[in-house]
Amino acid sequence: MFLRLLSDVRWWTASSRWRNMASSRSSATSAAEPRLISLPAQAQVVVCGGGIMGTSVAYHLAKLGWKDVVLLEQGRLAAGTTRFCAGIVSTARHVSIELKMADYSNKLYQELEQETGIKTGVQIHDRTSVSHILVQKGHVTGVETDRGQIQCEYFVNCAGQWAYELGLSSEEPVSIPLHACEHFYLLTHPLKKPLESNTPTIVDLDGRIYIRSWQGGILSGGFEKNPKPIFTEGRNQLEIQNLHEDWDHFEPLLSALLRRMPGLETLEIMQLVNCPESFTPDMRCIMGESPTVQGYFVLAGMNSAGISYGGGAGKYLAEWMVNGYPSENVWPLDLKRFGALQSSRTFLRHRVMEVMPLICDLKVPRWDFQTGRQLRTSPLYDRLDAQGARWMEKHGFERPKYFVPPGKDLLALDQSKTFYKPDWFDIVGSEVKCCKEAVCVIDMSSFTKFEISSTGGQALEVLQYLFSNDLDVPVGHIVHTGMLNEKGGYENDCSIVRLNKRSFFMISPTDQQVHCWTWLKKHMPSDSNLLLEDVTWKYTALNLIGPRAVDVLSELSYVPMTPEHFPSLFCKEMSVGYANGIRVMSMTHTGEPGFMLYIPIEYALHVYNEVMSVGQKYGIRNAGYYALRSLRIEKFFAFWGQDLDAFTTPMECGREFRVKLEKGTDFIGRDALMQQKQNGVYKRFTMFILEDHDTDLDLWPWWGEPIYRNGCCVGKTTSSAYSYTLERHVCLGFVQNFDEKTGEGLGVTPDFINRGEYEIDIAGQRFQAKAKLYPFSSLFTQRRRKDEMELSSYQGK
């Protein structure tokens, strides 16, 4: 069991200390003093929610020097989930950023035991509820409370399970997708021989319960298989009053407890506490700035781990507000990973019923949620589904994983959970083979697509500043480029087509829809007449991969498609079948030969049918994203969101020549990159080929496996796949170089990479791996020219 549990902290103790700390001006310190101190007319920051999240944010803001902070709580301080929660701090977490937060919280709480009486200057007002957030010109200007208005620059929504409702009570609604479920835990009278307070906390994942000592007795709760979502229609007095003990609902958990500890049978019940917890659609918490309202920050949706995350999450959010960005990559938790599409109450209600039980389930790789599906689909969905497509969902969009051939059965959902070789192995293998030898078609409609245009030359001017690669290319050319932040890190990785002198077509990863839009809006000059349009829904994208894609397309268009007539990384509007105005691009996101077709949706079915019928004689078949993934990883293509993030620069992943450093044009992140060019990099994107790994019998690498160089851990893998061509597993990851004595990061040179002996640790077993900084050139077909090979090695989606 990889789960380690650290000691639990008495939140109540910590909380009272915090309260003292926030001290003299706080009206919450003494209950004997019922008078309310009047609210200030203005403040820099207003935090709503006096639970662990709100207090943690306020504490960290104060530590970073922002003293003008007002914290509002509708009831009493630490009265919501924080008060009633079981108070367990566990650092065993699934997502590494969450693990870091929990680890920090754990240390912080221990420090807080000593650190008392520090004046933070934060004003705390309880029994004050926020009714409305005032917004002007897309920026927070103040909050309306039941005790008057406060003007402010920043607002932080830490309203826990009420965060969704509060998000909607703003002049510009902010969608915060979370939903509450009832959560029960049991308190008992002390045992005959009272339990020591330092008795370890026990989590029985099979029984779905946790048990800890509580005042000589026990406190035990759990995460049942049939959660009870609550407050779907918002705050409902009837439901609040009905938050009673529900013993019938608790029965499976009580059975599990008595099965694990039969000796507790004679223990006397004190109370069954019902304390709703909030859950998010992907079981990860929500933090960050609203994409629609500047200065509106959110920290909520803790999936019942609020106490564990409290310290760390508050710290990152405070940094974000003060510095403009947090000190770690928090993209997996960023509010902008969601769109408006996840804000439906029905969706949330259904999804959290699936999420909550997952807390106790084994998290297997490539798990797809089963609820809230088929929301966004391509027009070809039914057609592909009928041909055996199995689907995964990204940002609400259904994408084919692979196609199950007729007559072949896969394992049932429950049996298919594995860390070993999965049941789709051979199916994906044959799709990959078809991509290599004939031609495959993959529906890739989910990609985010923007059009940026202007009446004059402004579009180019602005984009040159926003993107790192040179976009001043001849019309019809495709440029792979990053959208970097000040520190040179990738905020987005995209392909941009110059449609004409004044307009550009931009293709980004699916989950960039909100983030990329916000970034562009934020950095575009507000007075420009630039037109930015999200055209994602207007186009269906088909990827024709394989050596025979050329033949299929030329037969359908009566236009020669050979590299002489249609060079790679080139885009032309042409007709395919009867349909006109199809954007055909000579790239496949895999390094294989072929074309992407961007088809206006009304032509999608026609073009697909034509491609399939003409392609028949070339051996065409459907393929899915798993094949695509295998193809791109064996060619060392990095993928934003998995391999690349806001803390990775082009220098660190071998994409220096995708940056216009020499051109003399300024762009965001240029200074950081120049500096890095001078000083060298501290991590380097590397490809590993597993040497002695048995695909059939050994556990597979998925991602997150430690990388060892000469016996020292130098990093973790970020993605991996089986290469059907190499017949080996390929892992991608970053290698760092730590000083043996100080642990400080040192420069990583190609030489450093090449001179090491590498091992990848999969669940405790180390496998020898060969490190490479460049892909195997033998993997690229002879027909592609040299420039294509060069470019394809950095390309990735």
């Binding site: 009673h244 059975s255 006397e268 019940i269």
Partner: protein
């Protein structure tokens, strides 16, 4: 009761099944001394033991049965699996949901569930449900036949037409009569809601129609010009139908099949319990010992049962008084014996049963001129003892009117097969909990009591077992039957017991239970509440 316990464990094959019949019969001899031997001979075919002689208490006997069994090793005993049990229980279930208009159900009835479980072969109970098309309202009824199913069948087909016709305004009656006269299409009067097993006898339809037409012609002639009172209409319809049954048997029919049919209808009997629901007006017309029970949900969520009918049997003092007042004082002692009318009949009111209505002369004349089958039948020939001043029996119903309130959630109509196995309070609680779902099961609160985890666990497991039996049924009537047949001493369904009860051989089943027929009508509290407000 001196039940021959030691014999029961032996009941494992047909042979002994027959032996048991004999045992059973002996029983009756003890209790019902006046049964003549020939009577006993027909015991099982006509199943007279129910109405014509007391039956030993089924529950007691069954417990002895089980008790004895546990000491005897019976390895070959065959048990029904849960799916088999379900297929037996669900064979006759029927559900009707009142259709919605514009997404709204404007009727005070949401719908009804009904079901029957036979004990007799063939079953002698009948049920009917229909919507009145020319007037407002819905009719629902259960009919418990005795001495055969002929009378119950006829009443289940015909009674609602008589009621509907009684309720029709003068103009509509004229319209219908004119249509029949000129051979035009008839206005539909009733829309039936029938299970496929609920049949109508095609052969008699013409005969029945003619009798019905005569009735409405008389109503047209009688035209009082007054608006029809539901209570009066119900009483008239009951009495008129019973009268027609009697007349048809006296007149006979040239068709020999029909002739025999009308005689069988008249010589067998049936009780009837009928509900007429129109908005908040609920009328119950009852003849005999079936029962209508209203399920009322109190403010605290608990359930209470309100009787909407009185049993017409010896347990009802008022009935005994009524019978006595109808006959000379000299007969006082012989009128009710062993809790039976003339020592023979359990219900004190019923359709058919001309043996308790006709004069001895009439009975003899009809039988003599009747078909041979009738003459060969010892039962029909048998004249009740102390038979001096007929009629002793009437089909006139007792009608109770109830104004529905929002807390009146449902109505249970059921034959005595249900009521003799379950207390009315339990019936209402089980249906109430079923209809409102598990969530409304009275929640457990620890309060200030000292409860250990182990005790709580035991309690919860037991409650869950109860809930899981709810989920098996989609029909409230089925759910009630499951409890009536399968309940153990803790009030929860015991599968083993259920399995045993349902696998009893035909001829034995009747000793442990009676035919059970149930209709559960669910009311629409919103509409009821709205109607109530309008009236205020």
């Amino acid at each position: 009761m001196p039940a021959p316990t030691h014999l029961f464990p032996l009941i494992r094959n047909c042979e002994i099944g027959r032996l048991c019949n004999a045992v059973c019969y002996c029983h009756h001899k003890h209790l019902c001394c006046l049964s003549p031997p020939h009577f006993a001979h027909n015991h099982l075919r006509y199943a007279p033991q129910k109405k014509f002689a007391t039956l030993h208490r089924p529950k007691e006997n069954f417990n002895q049965f089980i008790h004895a069994r546990s000491y005897v090793s019976t390895p070959q005993r065959f048990y029904l699996t849960p799916p088999q049990v379900n297929s037996i229980l669900k064979a006759n279930e029927y559900s009707f949901k009142v259709p919605e208009f514009d997404g709204k159900n404007v009727s005070s009835i949401l719908g009804f569930d009904s079901n029957q479980l036979p004990a007799n072969a063939p079953i002698e109970d009948r049920r009917s449900a229909a919507t009145c098309l020319q007037t407002r309202g819905m009719l629902l009824g259960v009919f418990d036949g005795h001495a055969g199913c002929a009378c119950a069948q006829a009443v289940s087909e015909r009674l609602f037409y008589y009621i509907a016709v009684s309720l029709l305004p003068h103009e509509t009656l004229l319209e219908i009569e004119n249509a029949v006269e000129s051979g035009r299409a008839l206005l539909p009067i009733l829309q039936w809601h029938k299970h496929p097993n609920d049949y109508f006898s095609k052969e008699a339809s013409k005969l029945y129609f003619n009798s019905l037409r005569t009735y409405w012609q008389e109503l047209i002639d009688l035209n009082t010009g007054e608006t029809t009172d539901v209570k009066e209409a119900l009483i008239n319809a009951f009495k008129r139908l019973d009268n027609d049954i009697s007349l048809e048997a006296q007149v006979g029919d040239p068709n020999s099949f029909l002739n025999y049919l009308v005689l069988r209808v008249a010589f067998s009997g049936a009780t009837a319990c009928v509900a007429h629901v129109d908005g908040v007006d609920l009328h119950i017309a009852n003849t005999g010992d079936s029962r209508a029970m209203l399920g009322v949900q109190e403010e605290d969520g608990s359930w209470s049962a309100v009787n909407l009918s009185y049993d017409h049997n010896a347990q009802n003092e008022r009935e005994i008084e009524r019978v006595k007042s109808d006959h000379p004082k000299t007969e006082e002692k012989s009128l009710v014996k062993q809790d039976r009318l003339l020592g023979l009949l359990m219900p004190f009111r019923a359709f058919g049963d001309v043996k308790f209505k006709w004069s001895i002369d009439l009975q003899k004349r009809v039988i003599e001129s009747g078909p041979d089958q009738l003459n060969d039948n010892e039962y029909t020939k048998f004249i009740p003892p102390n038979y001096h001043t007929p009629p002793y029996l009437t089909a006139e119903p007792e009608v109770i009117h109830h104004k529905l309130r929002p807390q009146d959630k449902f109505l249970v109509l059921a034959t005595d097969g249900l009521w003799e196995t379950m207390h009315r309070q339990d019936v209402v609680r089980i249906v109430g909990e079923y209809l409102t779902g598990v969530h409304h099961q009275q929640p457990i609160a620890v309060g200030g009591y000292k409860v250990t985890l182990g005790q709580m666990h035991g309690l919860l497991t037991e409650r869950r077992a109860r809930i899981s039996s709810v989920f098996e049924d989609q029909n409230a009537a089925t759910h009630l039957i499951r409890h009536a047949v399968g309940n153990n001493e803790f009030g929860t369904v015991d599968h083993e017991r259920l399995s045993k009860m349902l696998s009893l051989p035909e001829e034995l089943a009747r000793m442990y239970r009676d035919d059970i027929t149930i209709i559960v009508v669910q009311f629409n509290s919103y509409v009821v509440g709205a109607c109530q407000n309008e009236e205020l």
